[in-house]
Amino acid sequence: MKAFRGFVIKEFFHIFRDRRTLVILFGMPIIQMMLFGYAIRNEVQDVQVAVVDWAHDSASEAITDRLEASRYLQVVPGIEHQDIERAFRRGEAKVAVTFPRNFERDLILGESPTVQVITDATDPNTANTVLAYVTAAIGTYQIEVLTTSGGARPASIVLEPRMRFNPELRSVVLFVPGLIALILMLVCALMTSITITREKEIGTMEILLVSPLRPGQIIVGKVMPYLVLSLVNVVTILLLASQVFLVPIRGSLTLLLAECFLFIICALALGIFISTRTSTQQVAMMISLAGLLLPTVILSGFIFPVASMPAPLQIVSHIVPAKWFLIVIRGIMIKGVGLEAIWQETLVLVGMTTVFLVASVRGFNVRLAD
């Protein structure tokens, strides 16, 4: 026990004396949180809309007012129809809405006037989102006209799209769970695999092996500090998310932390597993980055929905632990579900963790590899 304690203390010395490690451990989570929270967003804000109004009647002006009132859009007046393309090029506008002559009259007569919406599709995401906003604004106006006219005309079926759980489509809400997965993978798997291979590289592993320490003690002693620091990181991210970015935590906090703990163990086991198969820090780092971080970012549903991936990739995504963790954690944080809704995913994670742990303890050589 004394030997084990000495080992853990030594690991903490390593971590706190290496500035690079410290930056990765504590700087990275905060920097990434800020990046995803502030800079990398899917939603649009203050998109300039050029309004070309050939009608100048109450209907076109009412719709323009609505666009103006939206916090996502900003109406740029005084752009002529023939100048739209130039305005796009100069970046003066991203969208142009043109009302035809006699817009209100045609609307009342039920002649379906056409409102032209041109978007700058250089950035398709923004274009789609803005198009949806404009369509929605025109749609609501139409409903109002129909209602105020006392239902004189046969009411057409109007779809009313509503976003559940994340009504404003705030991307930070979606990113936080993915971010937790990413950071835990980085801290646990990458750092653990590096720290064990470092002992091999500098030759101290030889001495550790020729000591009464058991392989289990060496492994647990190595990962214990990272386990503690990862929990600190999880709490930091959750605090930042809920206090700064107002991301809701609708489910049980205890369950959330327990699931994070499970995922940390899973990532640590992966890190140990990698380190038992490699002998240099560089190789361990490459494998961790290419083999763990990339799938965690791309295949887990963090950024791209799993459902929209081609079938082979969807199959591959099943073996990415982060995919299951994301379902679990989004369920708890955003939908507020309990264990009864996510027990299957949790079980998958438990299974994966067990496999990695067994494989890494088996793979840990009590002697030097030939």
Binding site: K10, F13, H14, G203, I207, L213
Partner: protein
Amino acid sequence: MTAVDIKALEKRFGKTAALEPVTFSVAEGELFGLIGPDGAGKTTLFRMLATLVLPTGGTATVDGLDVVRDYRELRNRLGYMPGRFALYQDLTVAENLKFFASIFGATIESNYEMIRDIYGQLEPFRDRRAGALSGGMKQKLALSCALIHRPRVLLLDEPTTGVDAVSRLEFWDVLTRLRDSGLTILVSTPYMDEAARCDRVALIQDGHILEINTPTGIEDSYPLPLLSVKSSDRLTAKRALERFPFAYSVYPFGEELHFTDSRAEPSVSEIKTWLHEAGVADAEVTVIRAGIEDVFMHRMPTVEGQTGVA
């Protein structure tokens, strides 16, 4: 009492043999040296004795324990210093020592007299990071770390490689004192001059043990008269000696040439005349006692730089 007993121990990696079957034993309290160039198989032998690498044949016991079967118990009794500088560079001198004491379940205080001799020189730097120590200091710290748990047998793999000459001498003084206190020490080195500090040495090359004897015994085993030839024109002298009718071998040795005569009673004046006729005017020729390196050169006819004439 035998501290280390090795019987037909061998190690193969696939088809290549890192160590051909070797058999020898080391007595308790003996300072035993393995002398040989890089790649001779010294590290492989040490790693097998340290229970780190499994032998592919033969058996070995250290302090009465089998290196394969009883590896767990044996690890408590071994002090092992790997060839590379294997300490934590980011920990201080004191922290390194404390860590290695703790993983063996010992404390610095309880075993201090074991390392007093060496660690005393390191005390002034106890709060310095190990990475900032000089080569000699690092070796002393590594030795302290290998000793802190009172091992029964000490295995030191090339402890003096990359260490300056003065530190090497000091290091060997320490080893001698440890031996005198009753510790069994196996040490390997590529430096022939260090062999003389051992009780017995094994000459090892290409996985074979060439000879095991006391340093004097090894020197005495040189079968022919050896002469040292000094000249300002070493190349001409070497060529002339190679043509000498009774030449056995000629090779450069430091600033001089070592010449072995195939006769039991060589004539110094005859060799001088021969050199003079070949145009070497300033040759100094003296009969000398063979060193361990000469024995090595003699036993390994393929060593580069040597001209076998016979």
